[in-house]
């Protein structure tokens, strides 16, 4: 609800009419604008409505197309038998201000991310970020996550978590879960498997 210049300009626009009524004594001659006819206004409104409708219809179509293309992309690039994804969720706020995350899979860095305030807020409000998606063959693997941020008392905070897991023949999904731990007033980083 920030007051922007646009809002102020709207305030200006609203008061312009009153302004004009009050200021008639100064320049009666000046307000000689010819009002558009009712028919013109009606045509304009119908035109605006039709554009809005077509834009809305277009948005709907593009969203569906976008969805189908995402499915096609996943089927093509990340088939279910080899698909491996890592998500990140943040159930914290008091003990950690997240700055960055780095993800290693079998000692190879596969993802790293620096967070903006907007992304952090989205995570804090229940959002879940897909940190990595790729393909992985069946067998044993190790994933490690490194988390950096500002911890309690505004101190730099770094923590890592590791998980050994077995990749089967279906999609594998892991979640890096960062949350407040009230028992020792510290954040906690854990990697959990999604069933």
């Amino acid at each position: 609800m920030m007051m922007t210049l646009r809002t102020v300009q709207r305030l200006i626009a609203v008061q312009t009419l009153i302004n004009r009524q009050v200021l008639c004594f100064l320049c009666v001659l000046l307000f000689s604008s010819v009002p558009a006819s009712a028919q013109d206004a009606s045509d304009e409104s119908a035109e605006e409505g039709s554009v809005a409708l077509s834009v809305e219809e277009l948005k709907k179509k593009v969203i569906r197309l976008n969805r189908d293309l995402f499915i096609l992309e996943e089927d093509l690039l990340f088939p279910a038998s080899t698909q491996f994804a890592v998500f990140l969720s943040l159930d914290t706020g008091q003990f950690l201000k997240l700055d960055a995350v780095k993800l290693k899979l079998n000692d190879d860095t596969v993802a790293s991310h620096l967070y903006t305030d907007r992304q952090l807020k989205a995570l804090q409000r229940g959002g879940m970020q897909r940190l990595h998606i790729g393909n992985l063959k069946t067998g044993s693997h190790e994933v490690t996550v490194f988390v950096e941020g500002m911890g309690p008392d505004n101190r730099a905070y770094k923590q890592a978590a590791t998980l050994q897991f077995e990749k089967g023949t279906s999609t594998a999904a892991l979640e890096v879960r960062i949350r407040d731990r009230s028992s020792n007033y510290q954040p906690e980083v854990a990697i959990v498997e999604w069933e």
Binding site: I12, A13, E56, E57, L72, D91, T116, Q129
Partner: protein, 673 residues
Amino acid sequence: MADCFRPQFTGFSFRLACKGVACALVIGCSSVIALADDRPQRAGDTGYGMALYEYHQGNFFQALTRLNLANAEGGIAGHGDHPLLVEGGLMLGYGMTREAQTLFQNLLDEADVDPETRNQAWFYLGKVFWLEDDAAASSDALERVDGDLLEDTDEALYHEWLYLKGQWLLGQNDAPNTAGPLGDLVEQLPDNSPWRWYLSYNRAVQRLAGGDLEGAIVDLSDLIDRAMPVDDLPSATADELLALEQQARLSLGRLYLGQGEFEQAMAVLENIPLDGMLSDQALFDYAVAASRHGRNGLALQALETLQSRPLFTPWLQQVPYARAFTIEQMDQPGSALDAYRAAAEHYVALDQRLSAEQAELDEQRLVNALAFIREGETDQNAAEPALGESAMLTDSYGRVQVRPQDFSLAELLAGEPFQLALRDLHELYRLEHSLDQWRRQLASFDVMLDTRRSRRETRIRETREALAELDADQWIAQQAEFRRRIEQATDENDAAFFMTNEQRALKQQLDGVEENLASLPDDDSTREQRRTYERMRAYFNWWVADEFSVNRWAAVKQLRELDDAMDTFVSQRQLMEQEMASDARLDEFADRIRRKEQELAQVDQMLDKALAKTRQQLVTQVQTELASQRREIAGYLRASRHAQARLADQLFLSEREANVVEPAGTGLEGADE
């Protein structure tokens, strides 16, 4: 009558537009608040979690896509109907009000929706109708909301609900009957709620429109008195309250001005800070009040201050004329003549500029006249974001954050139709970028499939070569030969055929001994050896005969194992041959890619049309605005020239009169002057 209602209607429209940011934020907040009372709950579904991640960043398009994706991949588990409320909120924010309406109606048609969700769905449906200007349907939906339940579920939504109900009452234009309920609604809203401020302000505007000036003054004075210190308010609402307080003072000042209470008007307007957002209007109104109060010096001072500022908005263009008028009122015709002349020159130059702008107006020039704001941007010298750029800052209804760089667009920019058209243009460019990305992606898929086909062909060739090297057909012939010989030996009870390796080695030794004995003379020295050999041979024959069944079984078992291995080999080979003969999976992908490319092309055409229409709509709006401004400026110019001519005549006549009178005096003095 129509004119009486116009300010109020505009006020309401403005209020609604102004609250657009807040409305969508409330939807955004409430969606999460509804998940848990105190803090957000973890998403129980990765698809939903990703949608929320995009949603709370304001990426409506991506969030809607994610929700669609999650629904297509089996739905969202563990969150009940809440994702539908989120999707509806997203649609509202993304300007898909009709889709949102359908979604909420479908949700309400379902039988097994929990009461909290149903209650919120009624609220959102009411809001959709309100945004669609269908007041009756909106009121009907809002009346179905259980206020107590909504207050328990989500207090912020409850406050907005009270506000919307109040707005509906105001829309009835039946002040005598609606004053009581409206007052109750205002009282139910907390003092620090922006909804209360807006409802109170709008009530004052309605009273003004209904001719109840006293009532409007009371309402506005009350609003100013109740204004809380900014430090006591959350930062998110502090600026808004400050703006509204100044707005209330400005409106009150104008009311006093309208009633001829100039001193009071001046007193109220004086409290609007000079560096405030409404100081231009306040200064102008103050000048009017001072002028009417006979204090032209103060009026001129205010107008001079305004004149020294950039005349940013079109209505401020009356300042040069008003300044000249005030100087004339101060009985300084010479200075007034100069001021009118300067005003006329200003208007001529302005009209020429507007005329040139009108002639050269296109989308590019229009965009150049606007300054867009990028997310988190602090560097004033940074390159301006372009329409369609995802980092461009937008409000919760997708309207781009923009400032006019050309004053002639300032008022137009403040209007809802222009904002909506600009939002549409921005969204359409974003869609275009998204489609461009997919077009490139699909092209890369094509390349990928070609590569896969080529690699597949290489592998097939290698496999065929490997199979040829293995001579697999010979294996099958050998297997058949083994079977035939085993069966034959079984039929003939050929024990020797099934002998073990040990037996075969022993037989070989015995045959060797027999051969040696045959070459030796048959005498006493070899007789004993021959007897020993015969005993050994007899024992060997008995042993072989005795183990015949066991040996035969072992051979048959091996043959069966070989059969099994050969069967597996044959079926694998057939499968491989099938795989090598057909490209079914790749063909299916290729088909899907081709179909999506066709869809993409169709949507592209629609997009081009929509872009052309939206561009045209914007340009037409600007053309109309510029034409209207030119008409107004022509009026100012005409008035300035008339006044200029009048004053010039007046000065000429008074000079002539002075010259006529002069001969009676000293004569020469007048000529010098």
